[in-house]
């Protein structure tokens, strides 16, 4: 079978999951292509794990569909999942088996036999020394590594990683980031659910932000952070007057800070703002361009709504 370089390996269409009166996932459309790493972001309870559960056929969607390599997971689950390597948030293996035997058991399940390079995978994930130890003796970080190793059995086109860096030390986290990029370099699609926004910012080509099961932002990291807006931190004494001048100069969003103002404006408008203040006789001590980080944007997008005011009596 010819592998298309940017073939869609995962597509969900109108995916919905309701648990009783709670809608965990609400009409989610997403795509992952070969060679790209897509970050799935959202606060706790946003629906990330439920989405992954539906993609893997663990959870039955209330509506919509998930397709892996064009195969509907509900209709052709085994065929579809033959192309998927998945690591769930809680890495669970048989405690009485060694890491090597656990991988071998998964390899047999996936149709591999004695030829499956289990030892090579253990080495790749830094577990060669402890491959013969029982899984129950593994630290959290080692369990995560074994979980990631298991996703690579069977040469999957799509790798799904749910919080892969949980329990890893900084060096381990870096290794995993590098591994994720390698996977994309091997022309696999990677769906990465993570709370570590720095990690996502480093490795993801695109991010999807979901909140209460709905997709609220998507695009490259640059596109999403641009949506959060770049701004200028202006250090100025007379904040009230400075705000009036800047509004007059066309600035719409101004936030007061202890040292002055944060002014939302395009990065190229720095000179304009400075000129407007100076021509009004107000001199800023500093005008510092700032860009919203993914974390800023994430927090802004996913912050809980303010409680509604109680009805007037």
């Amino acid at each position: 079978m010819t592998v298309q370089p940017h073939e869609v390996v995962l597509r969900t269409t109108g995916l919905v999951k309701r648990f009783g009166s709670i809608t965990a996932v609400d009409g989610l459309d997403l795509e992952v292509r070969r060679g790209e790493v897509v970050g799935l972001l959202g606060p706790n309870g946003a629906g990330k794990s439920t989405t992954i559960g539906m993609v893997l056929g663990l959870i039955t969607p209330t509506a919509g569909s998930a397709e892996v390599l064009g195969r509907d997971v509900r209709v052709r689950r085994e065929d579809a999942l033959a192309g998927v390597g998945a690591m769930l948030e809680v890495t669970a293996f048989y405690p009485y088996l060694s890491g090597r035997d656990n991988l071998a058991a998964v390899a047999i399940l996936r149709g591999g036999g004695a030829l499956t390079p289990v030892d090579a995978l253990l080495t790749r994930l830094g577990l060669a020394q402890r491959g013969g130890s029982k899984f129950r003796t593994y630290s959290l970080g080692m369990r995560q590594r074994l979980g990631i190793a298991s996703t690579l059995l069977g040469d999957p086109a799509l790798v799904i990683l749910d919080e892969p860096a949980n329990g890893l030390d900084p060096a381990g986290q870096r290794e995993i980031r590098e591994l994720i990029r390698e996977l994309a370099g091997e022309n696999r699609g990677v769906l990465l659910a993570s709370h570590l926004l720095y990690e996502v910012e480093q490795v993801c080509d695109r991010v999807l932000v979901i909140k209460k099961g709905k997709l609220i932002a998507s695009g490259t990291v640059a596109e999403v952070t641009r949506g959060g807006g770049s701004f200028f931190e202006i250090v100025v004494g007379d904040k009230r007057r400075a705000a009036e001048i800047l509004r007059g100069a066309g600035v719409k969003e101004i936030r007061e800070t202890p040292t002055g103002l944060d002014v939302v404006a395009d990065p190229e408008r720095g000179a304009d703002l400075n000129r407007a203040l100076a021509s009004a006789g107000l001199y800023a001590s500093a005008i510092i361009p700032r860009a919203s980080s993914l974390e800023d944007v994430f927090l802004e997008l996913t912050e809980p709504e303010a409680p509604s005011a109680p009805p007037a009596s």
Binding site: G53, I59, L88, Y94, Y96, L97, V106
Partner: protein, 289 residues
């Protein structure tokens, strides 16, 4: 589905529990034969020396009891020992074999790696049947060996050899009666996602249902028409025809026909497995299973 079974067997042979149970049934077979010889022989010696009064009929009934340890009686005593304890051990094993998958969260891992729910159930059921077969073979061989060893030590003539086809037939029927209890333990473990619940339910039904059925039929034989649709009476009907312990049952005349019993037990197996499958198929697998 074959891949799932292979993976299941790969894991099964690397687990301690099944090996420990096989070791236990071997030890138990020898210990029981030895204890029977020691205790009956002690009674005979005590009667002979006048330490205790002779029972009605003298020592002949005691010597008859001692004769039970001879190899030509393995089908009755040896298989009875293996069946009596083996049933409990296999119920515990069946529940554990399935329930731990939920406790460890490995059911979810298996599904995430492409296993199907039906494949999971079939591979569990088939591996349990295979294990029950191995268990009965090992237990029966141990009983035969124990019979020869203890008979030789006791000075009982071992001239009458083991009727191997007969022993195999009895062991097969006895093993067959375990299957619905194992299927029940499996189904409860699936429904409750707990090995403990499967073990408890399996054992309670195994002991309580037989007890209640026996009491009811003792009170009024008409109750047999109802309780003969249960597990224990049908299991007894099969073991009775095999010359096992149920021959002593005073209500044996009301037991169902053996063929009907075999069919009823098979139907129970199908029902329990179908219920387990229905639950697996309709349940969303979130944390654990």
């Amino acid at each position: 589905m074959l891949r799932q079974l292979r993976s299941e067997l790969y894991r099964l042979v690397r687990r301690w529990m099944p090996w420990i149970m096989l070791g236990l049934i071997v030890v138990i077979a020898f210990v029981f034969y030895f204890l029977i010889w020691v205790s009956v022989n002690a009674q005979i010696q005590a009667v002979k020396s006048g330490t205790i009064p002779a029972p009605p009929g003298g020592i002949a009934p005691l010597e008859q009891t001692l004769r039970q340890i001879a190899p030509d009686r393995v089908a009755q005593l040896g298989v009875g020992i293996v069946g009596g304890l083996g049933s409990v051990m296999l119920i515990v094993f069946a529940a554990s074999h399935v329930g731990t998958e939920f406790g460890w969260g490995t059911f979810r891992t298996l599904l995430a790696h492409g296993a199907s729910r039906s494949g999971f159930l079939v591979s569990k059921a088939v591996s349990l049947v295979l294990y029950a077969i191995v268990f009965m073979i090992v237990g029966t061989i141990a009983a035969i060996a124990a019979s020869y060893a203890v008979s030789a030590a006791a000075g009982i003539s071992v001239g009458g050899s083991v009727d191997l086809p007969g022993v195999a037939r009895v062991a097969a029927k006895t093993g067959y009666t375990f299957l619905p209890y194992m299927a029940l333990a499996l189904a409860i473990a699936v429904w409750s996602k707990s090995a403990g619940a499967g073990i408890a339910s399996g054992l309670v039904v195994y002991f309580a249902e037989g007890l209640v059925a026996g009491i009811l039929v003792s009170l009024n034989k008409d109750y047999a028409q109802i309780v003969n649709w249960g597990l224990s009476r049908n299991a007894s009907a099969l073991t009775r025809t095999s010359g096992g312990p149920a021959t002593q049952d005073p209500t044996a005349s009301t037991l169902p026909d053996p063929t009907q019993a075999a069919i009823v037990l098979a139907v129970y197996c199908v029902i329990f497995l179908a219920l387990a499958y229905w639950r697996l198929r309709t349940r969303d697998v979130t944390v654990g299973g």
